[in-house]
Structures are given as C-alpha cells and as structure tokens.
C-alpha cells in the first residue's frame, strides 16, 4: 500500500498533533520544534496528520489513484472507528471491574454487619462488651472480639470478670483497681480465653502510668505467649514504644519494623512512629 506520510516532519506531526489535541498545546515545545526545523521545507503539510477528515484524495489523478485514495480514506475512517471502540471497551472493562470490586466490598461490609448483629443478639444476655474507648494513645479499637456465643455459666462468669476489670480502666479510669482486677482474673483463668486481652490491658495501663518495666513484661507476655492472637500486633507495636521509652532503640526498631511491614491495623501507626523517630 502506498503510504504518503513517511518523512520526518510528517511523522513528527503525526506524532504530536493527536497527542496534543487542544489549541493551546500547539504552543508547546514539540510543535515549535517542528516549525523551527529546517525539514519543514521538504515536509508535508502537517494537516494530513490530523484526525479530522482530510483525505489525501487531494492527490487526485487518474481513476486508479482515485480508487486508492478512496480505499485509503475508508481505511483511515475504519481505523479511527476501531480506536474509538477500543477506547470504549477499555473504559467499560475498567468500569465493570470497579463495579465488581465495589459489589464485593459492599457484600463483605454487609456480611460483617449482619454477623455482628447476630452475635450481639446472642450475647445480649451477658454484659455488653465494653466498647473500648481509646485511651491516651488512641490506638485501641474495640476491647476484645466479642465472645463467640458464651457456652454455659462458666464462660459467662469468665467474661463478666474480664469485662468488669476492663471497665474499671476504660470507664472509671480506676487504673490501680483495674490492675488488681485483671491480675485476679488472670489468676482465676490463667489459660482463659481473655488471658491475652488481660495481659494487653495490663500493659496499656502500666504504659499510661509510665511504669515501663511492668508494661514491657505485660506486652511481652502477649507477643510471646499469644503470637497469633488478634491483639498481638497491637501489643508488639506498644512493646516497641516501651523499648523506645526505655532507650533500647534497636529492639524498638526491630519490633516496629515488623509491625510496619505487616498488614495489621496498626501498621500505619508503626510506620508513622518509625518515620518520626528513626531515620
């Protein structure tokens, strides 16, 4: 096929004009370059490059070149049409994918809320779990995962004991009493289902009170004793802060980096802390 456009200036024009569609853009570097280039003398009028219908049928001549011109024109129109359609398909595929993701997110959210509802419904008989008000450090979410369907009285009283102890700290700010209550709870249920939470809360309280050594011990219990517990990342984050306060930068950093590289909820906090306090 005959392609009348292969000169440097023509190609440069092909290249830049469609990419810089608006009029103001024409003042930009690239186009100036074309105009100031000496090639222009031998180049084609750049209008051939524009997407507007500018059939090169201008090269009118005998019948066969008319036909070629017409075919070439048709081909250009088809190419343009395909490009437009391609653009639309790409955009619709993208939108579809967005919608799918959105739908998934909505579903997960709904599912979470429904299961929360049904859980709190079954737990309504026992004391409602303390909706953990964040303390000084603002990084405490809800106190604990709500007990999954407490089975029998033993479980009920275990939860009640734990919940009362935490309430002392979060609602009444009675830290010393809370420490006593939490220790009592731990003596009674050393391997209970809230043991990790209790150690975690002890750590939090000691931390707020500035008793770093005690806080260190408590958080270490959680981190080492319950590495898979959902409080473990938070405990590790706090333990990092404890070491930082204790002046053990190296250990603080190791812990915080571990948290920062995890995908737990407190990872951003850890990253933030690292950024502010370590280079």
């Amino acid at each position: 096929m005959k392609c009348p456009l292969i000169t440097a200036a023509g190609l440069a024009a092909v290249l830049f004009l469609p990419l810089t569609a608006s009029a103001e853009q024409l003042q930009l570097a690239q186009v100036e370059v074309i105009e100031s280039s000496p090639i222009r003398a031998i180049g084609q009028p750049r209008a051939t490059a524009n997407n507007d219908r500018n059939p090169n049928a201008a090269t009118a001549g005998n019948g066969s070149s008319d036909m070629m011109g017409e075919l070439f024109y048709q081909l250009q129109i088809l190419q343009q049409e395909v490009q437009t359609l391609r653009g639309q398909v790409e955009e619709q595929a993208y939108q579809l994918q967005q919608l799918k993701q959105q739908r998934m997110d909505d579903y997960v959210d709904l599912d979470r809320r429904i299961s929360e509802l049904s859980r709190s419904g079954s737990a309504a008989t026992s004391a409602a779990p303390a909706s953990g008000s964040a303390n000084a450090n603002g990084n405490i979410g809800t106190t604990a995962q709500a007990p999954a369907a407490p089975a029998g009285n033993a479980a009920d009283s275990e939860f009640a004991s734990y919940s009362a102890a935490v309430d002392l700290a979060t609602k009444q700010q009675a830290f010393d009493q809370a420490i006593t209550a939490l220790n009592q709870h731990l003596r009674q249920y050393p391997d209970g289902r809230y043991a990790a939470n209790a150690h975690y809360w002890l750590g939090q309280i000691y931390f707020v009170q500035g008793k770093m050594e005690e806080a260190r011990q408590a958080f270490t219990r959680v981190v080492e004793g319950y590495p898979d517990h959902n409080k473990a990342p938070e405990a590790r984050y706090k333990l990092g802060q404890v070491y930082f306060r204790l002046g053990d930068q190296a250990r603080a950093r190791t812990l915080l980096e571990k948290v920062a590289n995890s995908n737990s909820d407190v990872a951003p906090l850890a990253r933030n802390f690292l950024q502010q306090n370590f280079r």
């Binding site: 190609l11 092909v14 290249l15 930009l28 570097a29 370059v33 490009q83 653009g87 370590f278 280079r279």
Partner: protein, 430 residues
C-alpha cells in the same frame, strides 16, 4: 500556606554561557523544622568565594522541610562544640544547630568539618569532615546539606545531584547541566540554528545523557558522556527517532521509532545496537519509561482514540491500559521507588498538570497547581521526594518548577535568559 519568596545568591555569573536559573520558593510546608546554620568558620586571609552556611541554609529551605533561622537572630556564633550553649538556641526555638569550619588543605583545596547538635536533647548527632578541590566549595556545601537532611528526615538528600535541561535562545538550542539548585550551569551541547535538541535522559549511573538532536537534519538519538563530552550516535533511522529512556540496568534504551510506518516503541542495546520492537499497532505509541524491575515499559498511546498510558510486559508483549481518569494522560515516568508513575494529566477544564498514579491502587493524585495549566516533562528526584517539570510563567516564558511529592512545597526555577524546558533529574552521584 506560607509563601516564602527567596532568591538564590547568584555567583559566578560572568560567562555568557552561564544563564543561571534563579530559584523562587512559592510555597512550603506549614510546619518546617527550625534549624540554625551558624556561619562557617574560616581562618584564611582572603574571603571565600562561596558562603557555605548560606548555601546549606538555601538547600534546606528549598526542600520545604526546614526553616533556617536568620543569622541576625543568632545570639552567638560558635565554631567549636565547647562554645555551644544550648540555652542560646532554645530561646530561638531551634531544634537543631549546625556549626562548621573550613580550612585550606595540603593539596590547595578545602577541608570542611561540621557538627550538628540536637538542641532539646543536648547532644551531638553528627560529626563529619570532607575534602574538596579549590573549585568544589559548592560541592562541599551540598554534601553537608545532604548529610544534615538525611540525619533528620531519614531520606537521602539530593542537593548534590544535577539537573539537565534544554535552553532555547532564539533558534539555538543548548543542552545544559546545572546543580540541583540551578547554580553552576554548564553547556553540554549547543545546536546550530534551527536544529532542536530534545528529551535528555540520564543513564542510571549518571555518567551518560541520551538525547535527541536534529543535527543531521532529522531526529537522531545520541549518547554523550557527561564528563568528557564524547558522543556516540545510537540511531539514525528514517522518520522519527525519539524519547530515549534508559533501562534500570543501563544497558538498553527504550525509544520511539517510526521507521516501519508509524511510531512504535523499540528497545536498543547501547553496546551492540541490537534493536527489538516492543509494540505493534497502527496508532501512535510513544514516550516509553521502564518499570523499576526492567520487565515492562509504560508508554503513551492513542490506540483507544484518546492518548492514554499503557504498560507492556516485555516477555508477553501484551499492552494493558493503566489510566482511565480524564481525556488525556501522557508522558509516564516511573518513580524511583517503582511504586507508581508521574505523568501529564489533563483536567476537565483542559489544563495540563502533573499527577501521580500508584500502581497498586490506581489512585491518582494531582501534584501541580499552576494557573496556566501547561505543565509537561515530569522528572523525579532520585530520592523520590521531589518532582521537577517544565511549565510557563505568566509572561509565557518557559520555566522549570518543582513540587514535593506530597504537593506541599513548590518552587520555580526561571531562567534569566531564554526559555528552559525538558528537565531531567540526575541519579545520585557517588
């Protein structure tokens, strides 16, 4: 937002080739760290050609993350650790204090020593010395800025890096290289009238610059060694030869060639000149940029009618569209950390700004706010903290401007003469 206007001290502006870029800081972060840079001690007889402490203060101020305390407010000017009274600096609310001394060394060059103190914790946090030749006072100062910046922010400083750019004076094009603060411009290549120079691109080791020159009356790609000026022609095909971009390993260039009829992306081995075609489409494929792992190339294409950014994996050759917001997205440049890319993004009002898109989420952040909306040619500092681009000022003159990647700090580098465009930020220099 605070508006600080600040003019860089102009030095050595004697030669006509030294068309300096002047820096104007147009906005900064709201809460920059106050730091006191005490005047540098010097025991020589003749005055130094450069004021080291002024250069350091200017560097740190330009980053937007620091507020150097004015010299006139300082209560004392210690040059030894024993002369430091923290009280003097607490009053000024300085968080850090830097003292320095420069002396002549045995080779006739300079020896610079500097120490930094944390005022609140009353301890020394930095104590370094560096030597340089007679003409390297600015390099010594930038080294000091880099060390201070890194010690405090944890991010490697880019004050010792360079920028390459193209300056146009009438019909003459000049490929220039200057310090990152616009000082000490050096001519790398001057064109004959009407023969444009385009698209400078640094090799990853910072030793070479690839660019497009029209000196053979059509665009051809050259690689020039920065230190020696020796040049090598890489391509000279019929049609367009454009937009070179170095692969991360420095062995190849991704380029645009139209030798087969319309612009396509190719890679060319710098040593062997072996050519490989990457894209194959009758639409225009242009402006390649490598991903950080060197396994894929981003490029601009109008295969979907409107120019958008695509990514092609070299192994599969299959292109995938990356940008979906806005009618026009072009000139992708992958950021040094490889997490995303900056590009020209046209908004609904038809204004062109520089934006950043993260690979993982696809989220877009528009970084520039210029009134004219003619922002182009983004290039990212090697530490990923700043972005430089070309735009026009209100008088329509081509200038370079910079913005931090959080969009908080901006500054302009207008040239004293001519239009400047197509900045390329160098890699770290070792």
């Amino acid at each position: 937002m605070k508006r600080i206007l600040f003019i860089l001290v102009l030095l050595l502006a004697s030669s006509p080739l030294r068309a300096e870029l002047i820096i104007e800081i147009t906005s900064g972060v709201d809460n920059p760290t106050p730091i006191a840079i005490v005047p540098t001690g010097w025991n020589g007889t003749a005055a130094l050609e450069e004021s080291i402490n002024d250069i350091v203060a200017a560097d740190l101020r330009r980053s937007g993350q620091f507020r150097p305390i004015p010299q006139r407010d300082m209560l004392s000017s210690p040059s030894k650790a024993s002369e430091v009274f923290y009280r003097d600096w607490r009053i000024l609310k300085a968080e850090y204090l830097v003292i320095s001394n420069v002396s002549q060394n045995a080779q006739g060059g300079y020896h610079l020593e500097f120490e930094m103190f944390d005022v609140f914790n009353e301890r020394k946090v930095l104590d370094l010395a560096v030597d340089g030749a007679r003409d390297q006072l600015r390099d010594l100062a930038h080294y000091m800025s880099d060390q201070i910046y890194q010690r405090i922010t944890g991010i490697r400083g880019v004050f010792s890096t360079r920028i390459a750019y193209v300056e146009q004076l009438g019909e003459i094009y000049r490929l220039m290289m200057a310090d990152a603060d616009g000082a000490r411009p050096r001519l790398l290549k001057e064109s004959r009238p009407g023969e444009p120079i385009l698209s400078p691109s640094w090799s990853p080791d910072g030793r070479y610059i690839a660019y497009v020159s029209f000196e053979t009356t059509r665009p051809a790609i050259y690689v020039q060694e920065v230190a020696t000026g020796s040049r090598q022609q890489i391509t000279n095909f019929e049609g367009l030869n454009g937009a070179p971009a170095w692969s991360p390993d420095g062995r190849k260039l991704a380029i645009t060639l139209s030798k087969d009829g319309n612009p396509e992306i190719y890679t060319v081995d710098v040593q062997t000149k072996e050519l490989r075609r990457v894209t194959d489409h009758y639409a225009i494929d242009h402006e390649p940029s490598w991903t950080a792992d060197g396994k894929a190339i981003l490029f601009t294409s109008n295969r979907g009618a409107k120019p958008q950014i695509y990514q092609v994996t070299l192994a599969s050759g299959r292109p995938e569209r990356l940008t979906f917001v806005g009618p026009y997205n072009a000139k992708p440049v992958v950021t040094p950390d490889g997490k995303g890319f900056v590009f020209i993004h046209r908004d609904e009002g038809g204004r062109d700004h520089i934006a950043f898109q993260e690979f993982k989420t696809g989220n877009i952040r528009v970084l520039t706010q210029t009134q004219v909306g003619l922002d182009e040619s983004p290039t990212v500092a090697p530490n990923g903290a700043m972005l430089m681009y070309a735009t026009k000022n209100r008088q329509g003159k081509g200038i370079l401007a910079a913005v931090s990647m959080d969009a908080a700090t901006t500054f302009d580098l207008p040239s004293k003469q001519g239009d400047v465009r197509e900045p390329a930020w160098s890699p770290f220099r070792n």
